[in-house]
Amino acid sequence: MADLISLRGIKRHYDVGGEVVRALDGVDLIINHNEYISIMGPSGSGKSTMMNMIGCLDSPTEGVYEFEGELVHEMDDNQLASIRNRKIGFVFQTFNLLPKATALRNVEVPLIYANISKSERVKKAEKALLAVGLSDRMHHKPNELSGGQRQRVAIARALVNNPSILLADEPTGNLDSKSGVEIMKILDSLHDDGNTIILVTHEEYIAEHADRTINLFDGKIKEDRQTKKRKRVVA
């Protein structure tokens, strides 16, 4: 099978007040299907830029980005929107749910942009909420849910369109430790079900959930190592 994600010589430079900031400065990275990767690094290391790049929110200044054989670095805005919609599920630190919409409607949003009919949308969204254990909270609005529940809605939203990767940016950063553990359990089990997960974090104990850890420093990959296999929960 082809590589899921292939980054070759990716550079991302910003021009800030006449000074060139090299947020990413020549990154090569291959990510395969069903990997569980964490991306780490101190602030300013290019972690966020890396996540935006993989998440197709940003385009490289230089380099080649292939996503399942599609050349992302050549895409225009509409194509990027489409690839985000079909192939990438985002989980944000601050959940980023739509405050006035119910959990169910929040989960439906990516399906609306995928132009899926109402009845099918509801069916898929209900299934995704069931998968994160929220089938009894579907008609609650975000402010009626706890932080952990909100993040689970966000995970359901990320998964609803069957993306190729789940991109989680500090998914436990805004949660108490108990909810954090819950969320990490869900992510672990999603990986066990065959999903590819990329975690962006600066917490070592979160990164340990992943099978592979990539350390960024000054826009370059400093370290790319296999993490000690965590104990698999085998049914």
Partner: protein, 405 residues
């Protein structure tokens, strides 16, 4: 894309009704704009239809020869003042000399009161010949009869009264063969004219009385204000008018270089004058009221900028979830159009109600075209004023938008 349309509609409604007071204030600008434009249009069209209706009493094929132009604004007053009077014998001269005369009648006019017992009405009365009926299509005797040539020649004291006069002096009885007085002169009522309604909704055409010309001249004045009504026997009014100008100049003995010292008026001149006035009033009115719509549109644009700013983060999230630029554009454009559409409908409803109210005093009614037009205008304003903010929203960088707090 249909599901996206419904979603956008839902988002827009949510946003509009979620910020009620803001939406109401914003919409108010458009409501007032649409209200004033629609009302203006309604009044103009009401004026128009009234004019058409009122014009029917001045048939197109009737020329009225008078001392002065109805609309001779640029003439010197002294020149007009010194024009010779229109004389009675012009009637016969015109009949002889012009080949286009179908009917011709003199019309002397004055104001005064008609009295019957303790009832009186201030009115205008005309002295004319029986031929007058042939020069005025809308003048019909509804009860009784018109006076005869014999009565005209002998100066009989008979009178045909208009509907208002009949109503005022004979509220519950048949006026025929009853007597009324003008000053100390006693007249027998022989007929009542059919009602014609109000001219431009302002003064009644039914408040008049018609006397035989001979009687009028004998009892009142030979030197009063007088016109000659000529009904022409052709459709070529211009040709007839030209010829009658010539005949009149000949009657007046004017030399080729001398200016006309009389005027030939026609409903067409009134119509042209009316159109010019309507254009001026309507044009300025619509322009001024359209300004209020533009102000309303600016209000919409302003609030849309606020809405985009407020929802920057949401835009970022939506983009991350796969919304394209055009989808975001559509979402905000929908919101702007929806506010304007709702405001437009409200404004139109108010205008409709108000025009019913105004109709009690002044003729007005809202034409369907205007109603549809004002809705279209609202939508266009929504699009125009929503376009820039929506475009700004669509062009937001998803990363910056997501980071926005």
């Amino acid at each position: 894309m249909i599901s996206l349309f419904w979603e956008n509609l839902r988002i827009s409604l949510g946003s509009i009704f979620g910020n009620k007071s803001r939406s109401i204030l914003t919409a108010l600008g458009i409501v007032i704009g649409v209200l004033s434009v629609t009302l203006m249009g309604t009044l103009i069209s009401g004026l128009d239809r009234t004019f058409e209706k009122s014009m029917s009493f001045l048939s197109r094929d009737v020329l009225i020869i008078s001392r002065m132009d109805w609309f001779g604004g640029d003439m010197d007053w002294w020149e007009l003042r010194n024009r010779p009077r229109i004389k009675e014998d012009y009637v016969e001269q015109l009949r002889e000399k012009s080949q286009f005369v179908a009917a011709v009648a003199p019309m002397a006019e004055r104001g005064g009161s008609i009295i019957r017992g303790d009832k009186r009405i201030d009115t205008r009365f005309f002295g004319t010949t029986p031929e007058y009926m042939a020069t005025n299509e809308s003048a019909d005797v509804i009860t009784g009869r018109y006076f005869t040539d014999g009565e005209n020649r002998s100066g009989a004291r008979v009178m045909v009264i208009g509907g208002d006069v009949a109503d005022a002096l004979f509220p519950d009885e048949d006026p025929i063969d009853e007597y009324v007085k003008i000053g100390s002169h006693k007249f027998r009522v022989v007929g009542v004219l059919k009602k014609q309604g109000k001219f431009m909704g302002m003064f009644s055409l039914d408040n008049q009385a018609v006397l035989p010309f001979g009687t009028f001249q004998r009892l009142f004045s030979r030197r009063g204000w007088m016109n000659v009504r000529v009904k022409v026997n052709t459709d070529n009014y211009d040709e007839a008018k030209e010829e009658i100008y010539g005949v009149m100049r000949q009657i007046r003995g004017l030399k080729p270089m001398e200016k006309d010292d009389f005027a030939i008026n026609q409903s067409a001149t009134m119509e042209a004058q009316y159109k010019a006035i309507k254009l001026a009033i309507g044009g300025t009115g619509l322009f001024i009221t359209a300004l209020s719509l533009i102000v309303g549109g600016i209000g919409i644009m302003n609030i849309m900028f606020v809405s985009v700013k407020e929802r920057t983060k949401e835009i970022g999230v939506r983009k991350a979830l796969g919304a394209t630029q055009s989808m975001i554009l559509g979402q905000f454009l929908m919101e702007a159009v929806l506010i304007c559409l709702i405001a437009g409908l409200v404004g139109m409803g108010l205008a409709g109600g108000l025009s019913l109210l105004i109709n009690q005093f002044f003729p007005s009614s809202m034409p369907v075209g205007l109603a549809i037009g004002s809705i279209i205008i609202s939508v266009v304003i929504g699009i125009v004023s929503g376009l820039v903010p929506s475009y700004q929203a669509a062009r937001l960088d998803p990363i910056d938008a997501l980071r926005y707090e």
